[in-house]
Symmetry: C4
Subunit: 208 residues, 4 copies
């Protein structure tokens, strides 16, 4: 098979992944069922009905941000790849199967918010996604897939970011087990982990 062909295979893989990310992120909304009040219901009743959906709205925006973040990481990693390798297929499929699972985990955690098991379940699904994401992004930025002309700094950044997401998700799982109310807040630690890893990284030279 010619070079152009293998690059086309890479493009089609990226396209398929993008589509799954886009569909999963957009399907999040269909798990929120619109309240249907009797026509005699007043404004207060409507506001109360919307207020009851606040955990579902919060869950929607958190998961939208989370899936979006995974998509951006995938985006960045594959921008550094120039060749197709069949070894990425299985791992990428596994990652996509967890991403497509997110609407369920989100709906379950939102319907039973601040409960221990649903919050741990949600964060564990996220941790699994983060681990698969790390594996996929490392594979895409390693030979034989990596673009030989890619900036080593950019590769280093992608990998470090992947690691920070794993550590942040692990923090969220740990927090959920102790105090479910603040479980998902553990995700906020992702930028902190990135910062911490960045400090460590600045001491060691970036590997190519």
């Amino acid at each position: 098979m010619a070079e152009g062909k293998t690059d086309h295979a890479l493009e089609r893989l990226v396209f398929f992944s993008d589509a799954v990310f886009a569909i999963a992120i957009t399907l999040l909304i269909i798990e929120i069922h619109p309240p249907h009040l009797p026509r005699t219901a007043g404004d207060i009743a409507h506001i109360a009905a919307l207020a009851e959906l606040i955990p579902a709205f919060v869950g929607y925006f958190i998961s939208f941000w989370v899936i979006g973040m995974f998509w951006m990481g995938h985006h960045r990693a594959f921008a550094l790849a120039a060749h197709y390798s069949p070894r990425i297929l299985g791992w990428n499929m596994a990652l996509l199967s967890i991403i497509a699972f997110m609407p369920f985990a989100t709906a379950y955690a939102s319907a039973n918010y601040m409960q221990s098991v649903p919050t741990i379940f949600y964060c564990a699904v996220l941790l699994l996604a983060a681990l698969l994401n790390l594996k996929v992004n490392r594979t895409a930025t390693s030979p034989p897939m990596v673009d030989e002309t890619a900036d080593p700094q950019a590769i280093h950044y992608v990998r470090q970011r992947g690691l920070a997401v794993v550590l942040g998700a692990a923090t969220a799982v740990g927090l959920s087990a102790v105090l479910p109310v603040i479980g998902q807040m553990g995700l906020i630690s992702i930028p902190l982990w990135r910062l911490a890893l960045g400090r460590l990284g600045r001491k060691a030279p970036a590997a190519d």
Copy 2:
């Protein structure tokens, strides 16, 4: 990273956005549940069941037109961009999260049509989308993203159109608060605002 690479990042962003717009617009329909009448039901009963869905049908076509309009604006703005900039990512994601939220807002407003809170809620979601749309389109048509060879008139048109959508959505929110029956009609003011802005624009020279 080479020039070609950054353009590829822009293409992938546009593709992802298009997919979310397309999915959100097509998901609008699944919030309308088909009536299932007993087999003894006559034609009159069927016509009555369909008639009851008229607000849902109207809501579907309004939101299809609204999401389609936002997509066209996005389309026009990104046709004028030639370079990728990471600063667009966050705003674009925020815009997409509101676009993907539209099926919920539509179903809620349709199920409780002509009610004050649902109509204001729908129009407020629209206003938020319009504001994010303005920000995204301005970023895409400004340096460093803008195509240096792009027609300044075309850039001016895209931005003015974005502003007219904001003003139209704000009009709809205002009308909904006063008279929910005609709330969504406020959207019809969008072309009027565009006309008004066009008159103002003709006096001032187009900025590049």
Copy 3:
């Protein structure tokens, strides 16, 4: 704006349309709800439950074929277009809004099969899609959109096919009004109409 830019706008329009066609065709299935029988249910009960879904299965495959056929026509027409024109946008959006409406019309007709109103409703939605399809395909194969080097025979074929779909859908509406049992069968007349138009066409020379 350069030539390349306008072609890119055409590509993005085609992509968006393809996505809506693909999503609408795949959403058809979610309107069929899987039977959930008690674990003590025997094979006969299961076969009976599946047999009850036969109208839903038939409706699914008819609509899959119908949407697929519209997509193929769109596909053929835009393969003959080389330039973008803003005048296609509105008509294309209108066509897509009816295509995305098909899962509802299908579910309604299937849930109330062989009933007069649901069958007429389904066929009328189809007729509307066929008319918009005709308009979109004619616009895409006319100046200023048409590829100047396109084969006039191919253009003639696309337009004739569009007309046959309109006549077939009209036949289905007529049949539904008289005898709902065989209403959707009217669609089978599409190839007959194409044949009839083909005979007429052979007498007249193909226009460019």
Copy 4:
């Protein structure tokens, strides 16, 4: 029509197919309904509710893998095609209609797991998909579609893989009829069939 045009038709067909595969695979999740327990429910009740969903989770991951496998086969076959032929359209549409049907078959088999009829139904749908997949992949890797420069070994591999999927699905149908508990396990025979076919193939020279 120029060469470039027909290749564009091939690309658009591949894109449409990819989109349907991606949507069908992502829609699998919406058939699993998240448990919504009262706020007084303890951790044990939550774990029990999740445990009850295990057959649904298993069904989700099996079908994700199955659709993913069909997509990869489609991917591989079309990577070897260089020309468009209208004769692929009908078969490809038929394949897509069965792929898009998978979320229903999965939900039905999962909701009634280890029951005879639902398991046979699921495996029979799979067998149908495997047969259509074989036909589509053979058409894409035969003249006039095949890339004349394609490696005959790669073509041989794609076809053999398609045959192994058919034999594996047939094994699963057979097993389901005898012992529904292990029916879907029959799919595990796919790699075994591929191995067996590979041994046979090594004796005969690969045809181009």
